[in-house]
């Protein structure tokens, strides 16, 4: 777990990308991780072409949940909502990589779950529990 807290993770934790809220989001969702109370909100703006034009996240929590969410938001502009809805846990694991202990997996997945919930307009399952 020590290996997890690499410089770029701490950089995203302290200076998260796309942090804040959109004035008029096309889609939005907010959820907490019941285990630890971490909270994340995701706002999406979808253009006339059906592609995600802008994204913001807000919330508070541990370095894992906040850095994972921050890195995720860097990757979804230009995707359709269907593509966002289909994102799997790999997108997170590729970003945060090795060293996530099972007890912290939900922290890492929270941002993705909220993003997928926004995309489908209802509560998405935990990405790490999907088959």
């Amino acid at each position: 777990m020590d290996d997890f807290y690499r410089d770029y993770i701490l950089e995203h934790y302290r200076n998260p990308h796309n942090f804040g809220k959109l004035d008029a989001p096309t889609a939005t969702a907010e959820q907490t991780n019941p285990l630890c109370g971490d909270r994340i909100r995701m706002d999406l703006l979808v253009g006339d072409d059906g592609l995600v034009a802008d994204v913001r996240f807000s919330g508070k929590g541990c370095a894992i949940s906040q850095a994972s969410a921050s890195m995720l938001t860097d990757e979804i502009r230009g995707k359709t909502l269907e593509e966002v809805a289909r994102l799997g846990k790999d997108v997170i694991l590729e970003n945060v990589g090795i060293g996530i202990s099972p007890t912290r997996m939900k922290c890492a997945m929270l941002g993705l779950r909220v993003l997928k919930s926004a995309a489908i307009g209802s509560i998405a399952s935990w990405p790490d529990e999907d088959a």
């Binding site: 109370g37 929590g61 541990c62 370095a63 894992i64």
Partner: protein, 414 residues
């Protein structure tokens, strides 16, 4: 007869097999989460083992020898609990845990005695177990739930208590806060509540493990605790209550063991406390709790409390060394009014990240809201780290915690 032992945490460590096991990374296990659940001494583990090997049988029914032995051991455990807490055996109702004991009161006593317009008074410090049952009772009955406020250090503000007690039927407060480790002045609360005719329930889940408690002297109407936080097994706790109140209360759960006679269209109930113990009890666990109490009695609860005051004082001093680097300690920081737990945060390192980094060094602490979400919200803490102590902890454990926090500071560059 139980021999008294003099002790320090280091000498007791060997009584707890789990503490001798290195972690998967080969570290010494530094267990600082006893407020969540305590470790178990070999004596308690042996008791469970012996019960299942030698005399496992259902109680209160069998006529054969091992059934009689199991019944005797179970009732002996009840007597041990009673003696330990200064009450009569017949007023000890075994439950699964403190939560079940509190729910028993909320349903059996609350359903009959709390009505529309009544007031239940609890405190802002309560564990969800002593909050949600009252919230739901008040919702069911159209009653009002009122709160004793806390100050910025988590101390109960009692100046306006008489005012707040107006119209109150039941007061339910925790003896010791699980989040901050503060000991509440429950004697005073009980006295002032009784003066206006209110009943009082004390949540003793964090008190019975750490302090000498005499429930009869306290004069609490209801007192709840869990065995697993006091060296005993999981699955056993108790509700202690005034006999006359128990006599009048309806049963909680219905079924076997709690009945007197049953017909197809009628039922009468067993005597107190059996009428509250429906179904097959946690027999082994109750007997194991008796052994845990024998173990604590041999140490002496005053010595246990003194040991924890020493650990709290030492931990506060050592944690204070990290204050210049951004460590914040919550609560009153007064070992004399604390027992067993200290909450803190470290610079901008989230409590969960702290706990993960400490875990790699074999150090177990709790991070989060500690089942006191409204308190955290009020205090403006999104999460705290909590180190909690018990009989088997020593200064080495606290030194390991401090070293671990320094490592976390290095990793997070604070």
């Amino acid at each position: 007869m139980i021999e008294t032992r003099t002790f320090n945490g280091t000498t007791l460590r060997k009584d707890f097999p789990i503490l001798a096991q290195p972690t998967s990374r080969g570290k010494r296990l530094v267990y600082l989460d006893s407020a969540a659940t305590s470790q178990k001494p070999q004596a308690v583990i042996d008791t469970l083992d012996r019960y299942y090997r030698e005399y496992n049988a259902n109680i209160h029914r069998g006529v054969y020898e091992i059934a009689a032995r199991a019944t005797d051991a179970y009732e002996h455990a009840r007597a041990t609990v009673a003696t330990f807490l200064g009450v009569h055996s017949r007023d000890v109702v075994f439950t699964r845990n403190a939560t079940e004991a509190i729910n028993l009161v909320a349903y059996s006593w609350g359903n009959r005695n709390i009505g529309s317009g009544d007031v239940v008074l609890i405190s802002e410090l309560e564990h969800h177990s002593n909050l949600v049952p009252w919230l739901r009772l008040c919702e069911r009955k159209g009653a009002t739930l009122r709160y004793i406020p806390v100050d910025a250090n988590g101390r109960l503000l009692l100046d306006d208590l008489d005012e707040r007690l107006r119209g109150v039927k039941l007061v339910a407060v925790t003896h010791v806060s699980n989040t901050l480790g503060t000991i509440n002045p429950v004697e005073e609360i009980i006295r002032r509540a009784h003066a206006v005719g209110a009943f009082v329930l004390i949540d003793g889940a964090q008190a019975v493990p750490h302090l000498a408690v005499n429930i009869a002297e306290l004069d609490a109407d209801f007192y709840a605790f869990s065995g697993h936080k006091m060296l005993g097994p999981t699955g056993i706790g108790a509700l202690i209550a005034t006999h006359a109140i128990l006599e009048e209360m309806d049963p909680f759960l219905y079924g076997g063991d709690m009945i007197g006679t049953v017909g197809y269209h009628s039922v009468s109930f067993n005597d107190v406390p059996y009428k509250f113990e429906a179904g097959t009890a946690s027999i082994a666990d109750a007997i194991g709790l008796g052994t845990a109490i024998d173990y604590l009695t041999a140490l002496g609860m005053d010595a246990v409390a003194a040991h924890e005051r020493d650990l709290s004082a030492y931990a506060l001093t050592r944690l204070a060394e990290l204050e210049p680097r951004g460590l914040a300690i919550y609560g009153p920081r007064d070992p004399a009014t604390m027992c067993g737990a200290i909450s803190f945060n470290f610079a901008d390192v989230h409590a969960h990240d702290l706990a993960s980094i400490l875990d790699t060094q074999g150090i177990c602490i709790r991070a989060g809201h500690h089942c006191t979400m409204p308190l955290m919200e009020k205090m403006g803490w999104s999460a705290t780290a909590r180190a909690s102590f018990y009989v088997y902890n020593d200064h080495d454990d606290i030194d390991a915690l401090i070293d671990g926090l320094k490592t976390a500071a290095t990793i997070f560059k604070v």
